[in-house]
Symmetry: C2
Subunit: 469 residues, 2 copies
């Protein structure tokens, strides 16, 4: 292929891939010649060839522009991913595929794990960010691990207000709770180790275990009171477990609030064995009851509880700011943070610190909680009304997801696939186990405003379940 032909083919390829869109200007002949070290005449010949093929057009005094009809972006054009399930469950692939169908198909977001972003005070937080960005340069040096000191102080204050005395020195700011969970797990266990988890398990825990090449041991979990401490005691008596990962408050997907007595018992059991607990507390601020729930951290006197949380569910997901209270592992987690992503971005940390100090986080939360608590009841009632008899639903005490056990052993992946044809997504139970449990369950998101469309979607789902039974 001659030089001009190869340049023409390259440009045509970039148009086909959506890198260059209709009406966009190509680099000028002079620029292209300089940057590619080609002669002016070679570039001109390439552009003429593209013109003759109808890919670009020249406009007098302006240059060359893409003429081709707009291609849909390559991402959007991807076919919906095939959602078959191999016998060996690759949870992360399943989860990512499921999330993508929500994104790419504009389906009703019942399958989404994320809260409705319209409820976040995004504009207010952005105003703080903007004021900072306009007033002074922000250096990465100000926010090296463990993180921005102002934000760390605000986080510690919030725990104090809820009655948990946290040493600011054990707080490490992270990229969402996901990074916090990963770093904590890496700090306390090694590849090949066994990690005890709830069942069903929030899949982020399974991802962390998968990422590190560890093994998940699923412990029986009560729908109302959480992980079975007695069952765990029996397990610990007979086999080595490197760590326990739980969501004591408003577990995803079950929504339970572990009673304080149980939490104390769990912390005591683990302290006795010297086993660290990683608790994921991202929903703690979204309680429906009278007061903020206590994390396991409340009873941790030995620094064995690694507590992970984030602002992404309660305040804003625009920046994905999370943190770990890493107890006796704080120095190790801090170092792993530095190795993993160097530092958490500065401006978002500063903006959130300013918001927490000066704005109405509690007011925002009161409003959100009220809406979620109300919709929890509406969603449960609608499911029981539209789904076949024998359907069971959870009774979430916080958060914004409902767990539904389908009647008649209907496979959730089959329901998922059928629902998708109607533009509806659900969270298949398959995502919540590494050993293929919970295949007859789905998780539904009720964080979005309740509309006729929500009700229609639930009615459709109910009909599909009946057909599949």
């Amino acid at each position: 292929m001659k030089l001009y032909e190869s340049l023409a083919a390259e440009v045509e390829g970039q148009v086909a891939r959506g890198v260059l869109l209709e009406g966009e200007r190509l680099p000028s002949v002079r620029q292209a010649s300089q940057r590619r070290k080609l002669s002016i005449s070679t570039v001109l010949r390439a552009y003429s060839l593209l013109e003759s093929r109808g890919v670009i057009e020249s406009r007098p005094q302006s240059g060359f522009f893409v003429r081709a009809r707009p291609r849909v972006s390559p991402r959007a054009a991807e076919p919906a991913p095939a959602l078959t399930l191999s016998s060996e469950v690759d949870v992360s692939r399943l989860v990512l595929s499921t999330l993508r169908t929500i994104r790419t198909q504009g389906a009703a977001p019942l399958g989404s794990p994320y809260p409705d972003p319209a409820a976040f005070p995004a504009a207010r937080i952005s105003r703080y960010a903007n004021a900072i960005a306009r007033s002074r340069p922000v250096s990465v040096l100000d926010d090296l691990p463990p993180g921005n000191p102002q934000l760390i102080r605000q986080i510690a204050r919030r725990y104090m207000e809820h009655g948990v005395a946290v040493d600011p020195a054990e707080i490490i700011v992270t990229v969402g709770a996901t990074e916090a969970i990963n770093l904590c797990l890496q700090a306390v266990a090694r590849p090949g180790d066994t990690i005890a988890v709830e069942s069903p398990t929030f899949y982020a825990m399974l991802h962390a275990i998968e990422r590190m090449g560890m093994r998940a041991l699923e412990v029986p979990t009560n729908r109302r009171t959480g992980i079975d401490v007695d069952a765990l005691r029996t397990i610990l008596a007979s086999q080595r477990v490197a760590a326990v990962m739980v969501m004591p408050n408003f577990q995803n997907p079950l929504g339970f609030l572990m009673p304080d007595g149980r939490k104390r018992e769990l912390v005591a059991l683990l302290a006795e064995h010297g086993i660290p607990a990683i608790e994921n507390c991202v929903y703690d601020e979204l309680y429906y009851g009278d007061s903020h729930p206590c994390p396991l951290k409340t009873w941790d006197t030995r620094g064995l509880v690694l507590h992970c949380a984030s602002f992404s569910k309660s305040l804003t997901s625009n920046y994905r700011i999370g943190w770990a209270l890493a107890g006796r592992y704080a120095a190790q987690v801090e170092k792993l943070k530095f190795l993993n992503t160097l530092s958490t971005p500065s401006l978002p940390q500063l903006a959130i610190a300013d918001y927490l100090q000066h704005d109405g986080f509690d007011r925002h939360l009161r409003q959100v909680r009220k809406g979620y608590a109300q919709r929890a009841r509406m969603m449960a009632a609608a499911v029981l009304r539209f789904f076949p008899a024998g359907t069971r639903v959870s009774e979430p005490q916080g958060g914004y997801v409902l767990w539904v056990e389908l009647a008649g052993g209907v496979d959730a992946m089959r329901l998922y696939a059928r629902a998708l044809e109607h533009g509806i997504t659900v969270g298949p139970g398959h995502m919540f186990s590494a050993r293929g449990s919970w295949t007859h369950c789905i998780r539904l998101n009720y964080s979005y405003p309740w509309t006729q469309a929500t009700e229609d979607a639930l009615r459709t789902l109910g009909r599909l379940v009946a057909e599949l039974a």
Copy 2:
């Protein structure tokens, strides 16, 4: 200890740790009683005790406030970390300690690896972010790995303009180049593997190798032309190397630009052996010459080059948005990204995409490059003038760091410690090797405006070197 005493001790501890600052209000008696499930009288007794100790004071109709003199924040109060070097170099600890002294001591930033943030168009980018945050809710679902489609298109366009045809499908947006490098390395090699690197090596590469439990093999590197391809060829003939990590353009710390012929040769050699190359191209936009340098990716026909870059050095470090062009490993890197940090924050991706599409990135870069090129000469001249005879300096072709080989075998850590006493930091050569090479070299940052203080600091450094020689 009685309940009220323990509450009082806890509050006093939070004041001492700087969680509560002078003049800040304590939770009201009613709040504290509800949240801690203590009686009103217990809280009142605790607060009275604190009042009698002079820690807090009550203000009529307002509540209780911290009275104690302001404590310096616990972070700021940390003593300067001891910077001794064990025989087995723990590069990441050394680097983090060094960076912290820059942050905490307000020293002249000659030791900083980051560009002067005052040169970034932070306010302009923030304006785009603000406009987005005010206009619509942004969902995590829009920006799942590989990343925001608009930003991915803008990144691909930029490569196209520089003459590199990139398939947008191989771009994965990450938390800075650090995450990109980590994920790429994890995708191509396993713990225990040997990774060939330049010598001196940019320490971020060593961190990635350390994080994965791999071994770094330091290959001779020419100060002007980069990694010695012939030496590498000899190594590959006799031992297994899982990957090669290089910075072909404006390497940190040497500043060289690998000639295109050498790059082609390197890509061909690795293709012949089927060995992937990870290239760190964070400084590519900061060239002093006529045109944008070519990355190794330019000659990669087999998808074996994993190219990592970021906006943090060229546009803004406020958000830490980086990316990988992961070639044939794109699917694997995308999955690792999902496992590592779930997704890169949305709002920053959208804001940068808007800036790239509508604003003056090239204008900004022209100005920055001109300043860096000029200061590169000024810094080199000043070092040669103030440092003892026999000092050698690099000739950076881009970026913003100068590499200085101290005369008389002066140990850079000793210079570092002495300089710190004068409020000056330098980048000790020890950071650039896992086997303790380059201990007589330092790296100096010249991205900041040149002032009398810069010249004074260099004069002081020169005097200290002479004293230590």
